[in-house]
Amino acid sequence: MKCPKCTEENAVESQFCRRCGAALQPPGAKARNAVLLVIALVVGVLAAAFVMAHSRSPSAGSATPAEPQSVKTADTRTVTHIGVAYGTEKRDWFTWAVDAFNRTPEAQDVQIDLMPMGSLEAAQAIVHGDQHIQVWSPASALYKNVFLRDWAAAHAGGNPIESEQQLALTPMVFVMWQQRYEPFAKKYPEVSFRTISSAMNEPGGWNTIANQPEWGFFKFSHTHPNQSNSGLVSLVLMAYDYQGTHRALSAGQITDPEFQKWLVGTERNQVGAASGLIDSTGTLMNAMVQRGWSTYDCVMVYESNAVERLREANGRWGELRVIYPRYNFWNDHPFYVLNVPWSTPAQRRAAGAFAKFLLSEQAQRQAMAHGFRPANVNVATNAADSPFVQYANVGVQVTVPGVFCEPPDANAIETLLLGWQRSQAGK
């Protein structure tokens, strides 16, 4: 919803503008209020019944729809509900998109319920039969193979994905405070997992790195690999970086004792290693902006997270620096329309219409404003108003440098996660 005062885009349910604080009200809301009140009385009863029926407890392995996916309104229209489980990095964009989609003819009789969930959390919810989810849109396809394997094991085969489309692209980036980046760059030849691991393990911390004892130890973090896609991607990139390759990461390379030793040494000195890693990339980036270099010298997040918060960071602590790792990974934000026992053809059609809208030029421009690289080639990333051009001075680039890594297979990913869990033991 656009703020009438400053034009900032806000979440659809917001009552106040996040930038200027002005009260937000949908267009024509006052005129509609009287009508809505009458309708609400009638619809409310039906809606309440619907809400009560939609308790969030998943019923494992349930194959038959146990609740209605459509609700008849007072004027006998049938409203099709679709639940979209999506990665929280897309929250602002998707919130805008639902509001905008609702104003299109295709959205008539469709209600989209956004369900912000960690990518891995959503996959497990679907496998366990969460009947609220008809669409899954994680940050990347990295966990898809594990999901398909788990689904097949739990549901005796079958492909639970009817269709998939890439909505946008986002590489991973290191984000470092400029104040800390400059002395780091003097000491180390590049910003990579290897150099970051070295910096974290300097016994004298910043005193050794740059003669700055009051900066404490070098402080780095990524998100929780078991709960967040970006945490898992970070582990994959660590493995590729260590092995010096970008293809066919194997379980054998992951179980290599030297790599495991290095992984343990790196992970144990992360910020939050003792008390718990953050489970969402957006939250990690927020924490970096809120607490500054006191808590994080450097984090690994999606490029979109960094782009969205560059301005605010500058108003609090100072300038950020965006660095693309040598070994990178495209997060392609797939939109999986599920073909599961609890989804209906009407829901799948509605999901397809929403995907089509998300790929429209209008929605793709909005995605780019939030730091995503559009999947729709008609939206140019090198235009003057593109954030990839505007923020070139802090390291953001239109053309992403480095090599892009192949997603490992399900076995390698599980081995990697097991190795990471071992690195957490004994703290």
Binding site: L36, E214, G216, S294, W317
Partner: protein, 570 residues
């Protein structure tokens, strides 16, 4: 065993080490002591809200550190008549509580909060861990409302004498000052007397626990990876001992230290561990006096981050959930965030500007680093070490046994309260019983550890009869405590009385003058409890203020809690 004797109910309930460690801060950091009542924005205190059919009532329970801000912005929310999509009016009732206390109460269902915001994410971690067996996490998603780092507040001339702001100062420097004889005189500041340090009780207050961990890190020469082995090093215990012996007293409330610093000036405390926003807000009340500055310890500190979220419990209906989200959006919207900034908090959203600046004793680019939060077993071990090395107390209990104490069960309840105080004292503490009525009966100082049973029995044997020779009893107790003062103890008097002084030998003015002379050289802290309806509250308030202690009111139903609160100062 000493620890066991001092433990309260929560510690007995919590079994896991992690729960023990964090449960130490769970007993309500920063609860207001005086009056012991809740306040409620947009509601009369203690009055249940009038809920109409067209209204959704939301209970917001939050850490009391941000009470001024919540009180400032919530009435406006209620008066602006925000509604749900269906037109129903949203009304917010607020309840400030200690973060640990609120966690326990919500988990037990005693307080049915719809939205919860403790002082720190530590409490969310702990609540969710404890909540796993009770139907899932207590909060699923949280967002920080405001932030504030823990700092060492120090008077500007003192900080400058230490080299501030050019020279970084840390926890180890505070330890060295505490151990140094005539620290201020050695730096040309003899007018400030000895170095006096304060932090809250680590078992009850978030900032107190952070202070303890920071001291322990400094003693171990580390800023991450504090281990059990570190805590067993003799120099760690020795350093902790030195720092703690500079402490004037402890206490449950960080706000208490912040307020007392501003009220009493450099003579009361040289430095105290508080939140940054308290240093900043002191400028609004300083009236041109000596300013405070925030020292961001060079070894690191910890943030108070005020996470907030919808409570995941059956009593939170869908409409309450939706209404709670609208209220949290409101708190995070720019006008309310700007109001928080004006009060010295760092906003969760938007720029950080004035008053977080050098003109208000703060530096928006600090802290430079943080301390790594240790594991739960290390935290528990640090608390055990603190119990051994903390500054012991030398306390006189002035206990009213006048005839009026026989009324309405007052005597029995007060005896139970006094016994609770004795139970919470450490073995190395000293206690002198001073029961009084018409006569003042001076007891002998007794070490609590060896005489706890005897002291408890003595309390049980007291009986009420006669008049109220209050001022003479306080003066006599003061003389005894001063005579035994050796600089190695927290010297204090706890006074309980239910009536007006009717003695003839000491007047209130004379008593206050005596206390005034003593305060200039350190003196004895006096904590007064006005018990029941007939207590002479104004006089008790003056005595506590003059002796830089604290004044309480109590009744039979809460007198045990009042005594327990007093015990957190020692």
């Amino acid at each position: 065993m000493a620890v066991g004797r001092r433990s309260n109910g929560v510690f007995r309930i919590i079994n896991a080490i992690f729960a023990i460690a964090l449960g130490c801060i769970a007993l309500a950091c920063d609860r207001k002591s005086e009056n012991q009542t809740d306040s409620s924005s947009g509601q009369s205190s203690g009055m249940p809200p009038a809920v109409t059919a067209n209204q959704v009532e939301v209970l917001f329970v939050y850490g009391s550190e941000k009470q001024d801000w919540i009180d400032a912005v919530t009435p406006a929310f209620n008066s602006e008549r925000h509604t749900l999509a269906d037109g129903r009016l949203i009304h917010i009732t607020t309840k400030p509580m200690g973060s640990g206390e609120s966690k326990d109460d919500i988990l037990a269902g005693r307080v049915q909060a719809d939205v919860w915001s403790p002082a720190s994410g530590l409490f969310v971690t702990l609540a969710n861990a404890e909540s796993q067996s009770k139907g899932g996490p207590l909060l699923k998603q949280t967002q920080n409302l405001v932030l504030s780092p823990v700092v060492i507040a120090m008077w500007k001339p003192m900080a400058e004498a230490l080299g501030w702001p050019a020279k970084p100062i840390g926890w180890a420097d505070i330890g060295a000052l505490a151990a140094e004889k005539d620290a201020w005189a050695n730096r040309g500041l003899s007018q400030f007397g000895p170095f006096k340090f304060g932090h809250t009780h680590p078992e009850y207050s978030n900032s107190g626990l952070i202070a303890l961990l920071a001291e322990t890190y400094a003693a171990a020469g580390k800023s991450r990876g504090l281990s059990l082995e570190d805590l067993q090093q003799p120099q760690v215990a020795a350093t902790l001992h030195k720092i703690e012996h500079g402490v004037v007293h402890y206490g449950r409330s960080t706000g208490f230290f912040g307020k007392r610093l501003a009220d009493f000036g450099p003579g009361y405390l040289s430095a105290a561990v508080v939140y940054e926003n308290m240093v900043i807000s002191s400028y609004a009340n300083s009236a041109g006096g000596t300013p405070l500055v925030a020292i961001y310890p060079k070894e690191g500190t910890i943030w108070s981050d005020h996470p907030a979220g919808i409570v995941e419990r059956p009593w939170v209906s869908e409409e309450k959930r939706a209404a709670g989200k609208i209220y949290l959006d409101y708190l995070r919207a720019p006008p309310q965030q700007r109001r928080a900034l004006e009060m010295g908090f760092r906003p969760a959203e938007g720029d950080v500007g004035s008053p977080i600046d050098s003109a208000h004793g703060a530096d928006p680019k600090q802290p430079s680093t943080i301390l790594d939060t240790p594991s739960a077993d290390v935290i528990a071990a640090a608390i055990q070490l603190w119990r051994r090395e903390k500054k012991p107390s030398n306390v006189a209990l002035v206990f009213d046994t006048s005839g009026s104490m026989n009324e309405q069960g007052k005597m029995r309840a007060a005896q139970e309260g006094a016994k609770a105080l004795i139970q919470m004292m450490d073995p190395q503490d000293r206690l002198t019983l001073v029961p009084f009525s018409t006569e003042v009966r001076m007891g002998k100082p007794m070490e609590v550890g060896a005489n706890r049973t005897q002291l408890l029995s003595a309390i049980d044997r007291l009986h009420a009869d006669g008049g109220t020779n209050l001022y003479q009893a306080i003066a006599a107790a003061d003389g005894a405590v001063m005579a035994a003062a050796d600089g190695e103890h927290i010297d204090a008097i706890v006074v309980l009385t239910d009536g007006e002084d009717n003695g003839k030998s000491v007047t209130l003015d004379a008593l206050l003058q005596r206390l005034s002379r003593e305060t200039e050289t350190g003196g004895v802290r006096i904590f007064t409890i006005g018990y029941g309806q007939s207590a002479q509250l104004d006089a008790l308030r003056k005595i506590a203020r003059q002796a830089r202690g604290e004044f309480y009111t109590g009744e039979t139903k809460n007198i045990i809690d009042v005594f327990r609160d007093v015990a957190t100062f020692f």
